[in-house]
C-alpha cells in the first residue's frame, strides 16, 4: 500500500495527537472495590452479647457478618428480612401467645452448611434463665457464680416472658416460641441464627473447617444435647461462646470455625485497636442480593477527629463517622471529594427536675419537691421556661446538622407523623410558644409570685453538670445565663462520676442524654413510670402515666398507642417535670464516589444496608 506524503503526514499527526491525548488524559482509575469505614472505638470481639464486647463497633461488624429475621432501617422501622425467613403469630390468646419462625430453604453458612431451625435454638440457651438453671448451666441471676453462657441476654424481656422451650418442627426448618402473654414488640425478641455446628466443633477442640457430613452430625449432637438438657456438651459450648469469640487479633492462624457466619462479609483479619478487614462471603444468600462492586470492607480506628478528616481528604478513608462538632463539620465541608451528611443518633438530651426522693437515694426536699405544692410547680414551670432551647439549638446543634427545632416529646422520634401529632396536643407548646423573651417574662412572673425580689436575690438551683463534655459545658453556660434573667441562680456541680449521682437528693435538676438502642412500645416508660426500671431519677409518680404504661405491655394498635402516648405526655408536661431539648447530632462525610450509605440513628449506624453500597 502506498501512501501519499500528505496522508503520511496526516497519519503521523493523528498518531501523535492520539499518543499525546492518551498520555495527557488521566489514567482511568480502576473502579474501587474497597470501603474503608471510620471507627472511633476499638473493636471488641466477635460475639457482641458479652459484657466485654457489647459495643457499637461489635454491632457494626456483626451486621456485616450476620443476617437474621429483621433489621432496623434508616427510618427506624423494623424491616423483615424475608429472604432469610419468615415469622408469624400462630396463637394469639391472653395466656398463650405463639410465634413461629421459619428459615427459608437453601440458606447457608459461609462454610456451606445449611441453616436450619436448629441454628435458632441457641438463642434460647443464651437467653432463658429457666433453661440455664434446668440444664445445670448456672443461675444467671447469681451475683457470684457465672453461668456457662456468660452473656448479657439473660434476665431480660426474653427470659422473663418466654414459656417453656421452643419447639422445632419435624422438617427442622421452623421454631415456635411460646410467650406467657402477648408481649409488645415481640418481633424484637425473636431468635437469631447461630452456627451451632461450629460451636460444637469448637467445643470438641477442632481447629479447622469440617466436612459437610461432620457438620450435620455436629448439628444433631447439639439438638440432642439441647433436648436432653445435657450440661456436659452445653457447658463446653458455653465456654466457647463466652470466651473463644472474644478475639481482637485475627489472622491466618485464627481458627476458621470462629469466623463462620451468614452475612455478606466474613472477617478476614483484625489488628487490635487498629483495624478489621472483611472480605466478601461468596456463599452469602441470607439477605438482599448485593448489587454493589464492593469486595472488601475495612474498619479503621482513628480516635482523633482532625486526623480522620485529613485521612478522608487523603483518600485513606471513605467515610468519616467521628465526633460531631461544628469545627469538624467546617473542616469536612472544605474537602471537595466528599459529601457531608448531617445525621442523628438515638440519644436524647434533656433537663430533668427533682420531684421527690428516689428509692435508695438520699432524701430530697428542695424547691422543686412535690411537697411544695403549687409553689414548687410554679417554680418548675418557670425553670423549664427559662431554659433557652432555641438559643441552644441555634448555637450548638444547628452548626452541626442544621436542626433548629428543639424536641417536643421523647415518646417517638422526630421526623415522623406520630411525632407531629403528639406534639400538637401534649402540652409542650407551653414551653415553645412565643419568643424566649416572652417566655422569660412569663417565668419571671411565676418566680416573683413567691420570691418578689428574685431578680436581686435569685433562687438557688443545684444542677448536676456532667464533666469532660464540652457540649454540655457550653449548654450549661447558655442556660445559666438565661436563667439568671428569670430569677434563678443555677449552681452547677461539675462531676466526672455524675452517672452515679443521678437521683441524689443534693440536686434540684439534672441534664444528660438517654440512649435508646431499639424502638419499643413502652419507649420512655422505664423512665417516667413510678419506680421505673431505668433512669428513674426524678421521683416521678403520676397515676395517669403509670396506667398508660401498664397497658403497653401487650401489642397495641398504632392509633391506640398514640392516644396513650399523648395521655402520658400531657400528664408529664402538666407536672413540669422534664423538658427534652435535642437529639444528639451526628455527622458523616462520604467519599463522593461511594453510593448507598444511609446513616441510621440506631446501632448499627452504617453497616445495616451494606448490600446497597456501590461505586
Amino acid at each position: 500500500m502506498k501512501l501519499s506524503p500528505r496522508a503520511k503526514f496526516a497519519l503521523t499527526v493523528g498518531a501523535s495527537v492520539a499518543l499525546a491525548i492518551s498520555l495527557l488524559a488521566p489514567a482511568q482509575a480502576a473502579t474501587r472495590s474497597t470501603v474503608v469505614l471510620h471507627q472511633t472505638n476499638p473493636q471488641t470481639g466477635l460475639n457482641c452479647s458479652l459484657s466485654t464486647t457489647n459495643s457499637t463497633v461489635c454491632t457494626e461488624a456483626a451486621s456485616l457478618t450476620g443476617m437474621g429475621f429483621n433489621y432496623y432501617n434508616d427510618k427506624k422501622k423494623l424491616v423483615r428480612n424475608t429472604i432469610f425467613g419468615s415469622y408469624r403469630v400462630v396463637t394469639n390468646k391472653p395466656n398463650d401467645f405463639r410465634v413461629r419462625y421459619t428459615v427459608a430453604e437453601g440458606r447457608v453458612w459461609s462454610d456451606g452448611t445449611p441453616i436450619t431451625g436448629v441454628d435458632l435454638l441457641l438463642s434460647h440457651v443464651t437467653g432463658s434463665d429457666e433453661y440455664s438453671k434446668a440444664a445445670g448451666l448456672g443461675d444467671p441471676a447469681s451475683e457470684t457464680e457465672k453461668p456457662a453462657f456468660n452473656g448479657l441476654l439473660y434476665t431480660s424481656t426474653y427470659g422473663k416472658n418466654i414459656a417453656g422451650d421452643p419447639v422445632l418442627s419435624s422438617d427442622q426448618m421452623s421454631v415456635t416460641l411460646r410467650w406467657k402473654t402477648p408481649i409488645a414488640d415481640w418481633d424484637l425478641y425473636g431468635p437469631g441464627p447461630s452456627p451451632v455446628h461450629a460451636l460444637v466443633h469448637l467445643a470438641e477442640g477442632k481447629t479447622s473447617l469440617q466436612s459437610a457430613s461432620a457438620n450435620l452430625a455436629a448439628k444433631e449432637r447439639f439438638l440432642t444435647a439441647f433436648k436432653a438438657k445435657d450440661s456436659v456438651l452445653l457447658k463446653k459450648m458455653g465456654k466457647v461462646w463466652s470466651e473463644d469469640y472474644s478475639i481482637t487479633t485475627i489472622n491466618k492462624d485464627t481458627n476458621p470455625l470462629l469466623l463462620i457466619s451468614n452475612g455478606g462479609f466474613i472477617v478476614e483479619s483484625a489488628v487490635p485497636r487498629t483495624s478489621m478487614t472483611f472480605k466478601l462471603n461468596p456463599r452469602y444468600n441470607s439477605g438482599p442480593k448485593m448489587d454493589g462492586s464492593i469486595d472488601t470492607v475495612v474498619f479503621k480506628l482513628i480516635t482523633d477527629g482532625t486526623a480522620a478528616t485529613q485521612a478522608l481528604a487523603n483518600g485513606e478513608l471513605d467515610l468519616y463517622a467521628g465526633q460531631a462538632t461544628a469545627d469538624v463539620v467546617a473542616a469536612l465541608n472544605k474537602i471537595s471529594s466528599v459529601n457531608v451528611l448531617g445525621g442523628e443518633v438515638a440519644v436524647y438530651e434533656h433537663f430533668d427536675l427533682h420531684l421527690d426522693t428516689v428509692e435508695g437515694e438520699s432524701a430530697y426536699s428542695g424547691i422543686f419537691s412535690v411537697k411544695g405544692g403549687a409553689r414548687a410547680k410554679a417554680l418548675r414551670q418557670a425553670f423549664l421556661l427559662g431554659i433557652p432551647r432555641d438559643e441552644i439549638m441555634e448555637k450548638i446543634i444547628a452548626p452541626i446538622n442544621g436542626v433548629k427545632e428543639p424536641m417536643c416529646t421523647t415518646w417517638v422520634s422526630p421526623g415522623t407523623a406520630e411525632y407531629d401529632k403528639i406534639c400538637a396536643s401534649n402540652g409542650s407548646s407551653f414551653y415553645s410558644r412565643g419568643t424566649q423573651e416572652s417566655r422569660n417574662k412569663k417565668a419571671l412572673a411565676l418566680v416573683k409570685r413567691y420570691y418578689p425580689d428574685a431578680v436581686k436575690n435569685p433562687v438557688k438551683v443545684n444542677v448536676l453538670v456532667p464533666a469532660n463534655n464540652t457540649r454540655r459545658a457550653a449548654m450549661f453556660a447558655i442556660t445559666k445565663a438565661n436563667l439568671a434573667k428569670v430569677g434563678f441562680d443555677a449552681v452547677g456541680d461539675v462531676q466526672s462520676g455524675w452517672g452515679a449521682l443521678l437521683g441524689n437528693g443534693k440536686y434540684d435538676a439534672f441534664f444528660f442524654g438517654w440512649s435508646s438502642g431499639s424502638i419499643t412500645q413502652r419507649q420512655s416508660c422505664d423512665v417516667f413510670e413510678t419506680n421505673g426500671q431505668a433512669n428513674y431519677i426524678m421521683g416521678l409518680s403520676i397515676k395517669r402515666i403509670d396506667s398508660a404504661c401498664n397497658s403497653m405491655f401487650v401489642p397495641l394498635k398504632e392509633n391506640i398507642l398514640l392516644t396513650k402516648y399523648i395521655l402520658a405526655d400531657r400528664a408529664l408536661f402538666a407536672e413540669a417535670a422534664t423538658l427534652p431539648i435535642f437529639v444528639f447530632p451526628a455527622v458523616y462525610a462520604v467519599n463522593k464516589d461511594l453510593k448507598g450509605i444511609k446513616p441510621n440513628p440506631l446501632s448499627p449506624n452504617l453497616t445495616w444496608n451494606y448490600w446497597e453500597w456501590n461505586y
Binding site: 474503608v36 489488628v271 482513628i302 452515679a500 438517654w514 440512649s515 433512669n535
Partner: protein
C-alpha cells in the same frame, strides 16, 4: 557495687509498690465503670450491671481490690504474671505485648534520629558560635521546641501528605519552588561553611546551582514517580562518604584509613548488582542481615589489610564507610520499589499516608512493597517527633560542648599542637557525651511510655493508646498494666544512667557516696 545495686533494686520495688497502690486507688475512685450502663434504657440493664460487677469485682473496695491485682502481678516471680483481663476481653499482657513493639517502632527511630541530628547540629552551632548559622539554628530550635505536636502533625499531613499526593498526580515543579529551594539551601550551606565573604558567596552560588539543578532535574525527568540512585550516583556518594568519614574519624592525614574507606566505597559499587540480585531473589530480613554481616567482615579485612599500626581506628573507619555506602544500595532498592508500590490498587498513587501503621488494603506478598509501606507510614510520625525532639538536643549539645571547650584540658590539647579535628572529635566531643547520656537514657525510658498525642494524631495503637483506652473505658487492669511497664522502665532507666555514669566517667564511683 553489689550492695549499691541491691539497695537500688530494693528502692525500686518500694517505689513501684507505693506508686501503683496510689494510682490504682485514684483511678478506681475517679472512674465509674457502670456509668454508661446507668444511663442505658436497655431492658437488660440490671442484668448487665450484675454481670459487670461480677466480672470486675466491683463489690470489693479499691484498696483491697489492689491486692487482688497485685497477687496476679507477683506471678512474675514464678514466670506466670497475670495482669488480668481488660474490659475488651483481651488479656492485658497480650495487649501490652502487641503495643510495645508498635511504640518502639514509632518512637525509637525518631529518638535516634533526633539525637544524631540534634547532636550534630548542636556541635556545628557551638563551633560556629554567634554566627548567622548559630543564631538561625537557635531560632529554629526554640521555634520547634514550642510547637505542639498535634499542630505540627496537622501541618505536615496537609503539606507533605495531602498536597504532595495531589502534586504527584502531575509532578511539575513550578519555577518559584526551584528558585526558592535553591535560595534556602544556599543560605544553609553558606552559613555553615562560609567563614569569610568570598567563601560565603562561593558556597552560596554552588549550593544554589546544585539544589536548583537537582530539583529541576527531578521535575523534568519525573524522578519523583520512579526514583532511583543508580550505580554511578551511589559510587559518587560513597566516595564522598569515604572522605567525610575518614576526616571525622581519624583525619585525612591517615592515608591507610582513607585507602581502606575508598576501597570499601568501591566495593559497595562492585556489590551493587549482586546485592540487587539477592534483594530480588531472597527478599527478607535474613538476606539483608547476612549481607550486612558479610559487608562488615569484608570491611574488617580491608581495614586490616591497609593498616600496619594503630589498626583499630582504621578498621572502625572502614566499617562505618562500608555500612553507610551499603545503606545507599538499600535506599536505592527502596527507591526502585516506589513505582510498583504507587501502582498497587491499595495505594492508588497516593503514597504518603497520614494515619496508621500500615495500609490495611495492601495485600502484597512482596517483601519490598510491604516494607516500603511500613516506611511510608513511619515517615510523617517520625518526622514530626524528630522535629520536636531534636530541638532539645541542639541546645543541650551546644551548651555542653561550649562548656567543655573552655576546659583546661582543651587548652592543653591545643597547646600540645594537636590538630583542631583531634581536639574537637577526641577530646571535646567525647566529654560532651557524658552529660548527654542522662537525657538519652531518660528519653529511652519515655519511649516505652509511648507518645500519647503522637499516637492519637497518627492513629497508631501503642502504649499511649492503651493508656488512653484504659482511662476512657475505666479499664483499671489495662491502665495498671501500662503503668507497671512504664514505671518500671522509668525507674530502671534512672538506675542504668547511674551505672553508665560510673562507667563513662572514671571520677564517679557508684556506691561510695557515704
Amino acid at each position: 557495687m553489689a550492695a549499691f545495686i541491691l539497695r537500688r533494686l530494693g528502692a525500686l520495688g518500694v517505689i513501684l509498690f507505693g506508686s501503683s497502690f496510689i494510682l490504682y486507688n485514684l483511678a478506681a475512685i475517679s472512674a465509674d465503670p457502670l456509668e454508661e450502663l446507668r444511663l442505658s434504657l436497655d431492658p437488660s440493664r440490671d442484668a448487665q450491671i450484675t454481670a459487670l460487677t461480677r466480672e470486675l469485682q466491683l463489690d470489693v473496695p479499691p484498696p483491697l481490690r489492689y491486692f487482688l491485682w497485685l497477687r496476679g502481678v507477683f506471678g512474675i516471680f514464678v514466670g506466670q504474671p497475670n495482669f488480668g483481663t481488660g474490659r475488651d476481653g483481651a488479656a492485658v499482657i497480650e495487649s501490652l505485648s502487641i503495643a510495645i513493639p508498635v511504640t518502639l517502632r514509632l518512637v525509637l527511630a525518631a529518638t535516634i534520629l533526633a539525637a544524631i541530628l540534634g547532636i550534630m547540629i548542636g556541635i556545628v552551632t557551638a563551633l560556629r558560635q554567634y554566627s548567622r548559622f548559630d543564631y538561625s539554628m537557635t531560632f529554629v530550635a526554640f521555634l520547634l521546641f514550642s510547637l505542639p505536636i498535634f499542630w505540627v502533625a496537622v501541618l505536615l499531613k496537609e503539606y507533605l501528605a495531602i498536597s504532595f499526593n495531589n502534586f504527584l498526580r502531575d509532578p511539575i515543579i513550578p519555577i518559584t519552588w526551584i528558585i526558592g529551594i535553591g535560595l534556602v539551601s544556599g543560605l544553609f550551606w553558606a552559613s555553615i561553611i562560609g567563614r569569610n565573604r568570598k567563601l560565603f558567596w562561593t558556597t552560596y552560588a554552588v549550593a544554589f546551582i546544585l539544589s536548583s539543578g537537582l530539583v529541576t532535574f527531578f521535575g523534568v525527568t519525573g524522578w519523583l514517580l520512579n526514583p532511583s540512585l543508580g550505580p554511578i550516583v551511589i559510587l559518587g556518594l560513597s566516595i564522598g562518604l569515604a572522605f567525610g568519614v575518614t576526616q571525622l574519624s581519624v583525619g585525612l592525614i591517615n592515608k591507610a584509613a582513607l585507602r581502606a574507606s575508598l576501597t570499601m566505597a568501591g566495593l559497595s559499587i562492585v556489590a551493587f548488582y549482586p546485592a540487587n540480585w539477592v534483594f530480588d531473589n531472597y527478599p527478607g530480613p535474613l538476606g539483608i542481615f547476612l549481607m550486612i554481616c558479610g559487608l562488615i567482615t569484608t570491611a574488617v579485612f580491608v581495614g586490616l589489610a591497609f593498616s600496619k599500626i594503630d589498626r583499630v581506628p582504621i578498621v572502625r573507619t572502614s566499617i562505618i564507610t562500608a555500612v553507610l555506602s551499603g545503606g545507599l544500595v538499600l535506599v536505592d532498592k527502596f527507591m526502585q520499589t516506589w513505582k510498583p508500590y504507587m501502582e498497587t490498587e491499595a495505594i492508588n498513587r497516593r503514597p504518603v499516608p497520614t494515619v496508621g501503621e500500615r495500609n490495611d488494603l495492601l495485600n502484597s506478598t512482596d517483601f519490598w512493597i510491604s516494607s516500603l509501606d511500613i516506611v511510608t507510614h513511619l515517615f510523617l510520625p517520625t518526622l514530626a517527633l524528630t522535629l520536636i525532639g531534636f530541638a532539645g538536643y541542639i541546645r543541650f549539645a551546644r551548651g555542653t560542648l561550649l562548656e567543655v571547650l573552655n576546659q583546661d584540658y582543651i587548652r592543653t590539647a591545643r597547646a600540645k599542637g594537636l590538630t583542631e579535628r583531634t581536639v574537637i572529635m577526641r577530646h571535646a566531643f567525647r566529654n560532651t557525651m557524658i552529660p548527654m547520656t542522662t537525657i538519652l537514657v531518660a528519653d529511652f525510658a519515655g519511649v516505652v511510655g509511648g507518645a500519647f498525642i503522637t499516637e492519637t494524631v497518627f492513629a497508631w495503637s501503642g502504649m499511649g493508646t492503651l493508656a488512653l483506652q484504659g482511662i476512657r473505658s475505666q479499664d483499671l487492669n489495662l491502665l495498671m498494666g501500662v503503668f507497671f511497664v512504664t514505671a518500671t522502665m522509668a525507674v530502671l532507666a534512672n538506675f542504668v544512667a547511674d551505672l553508665l555514669y560510673s562507667v563513662l566517667d572514671p571520677r564517679i564511683r557508684a556506691g561510695s557516696g557515704e
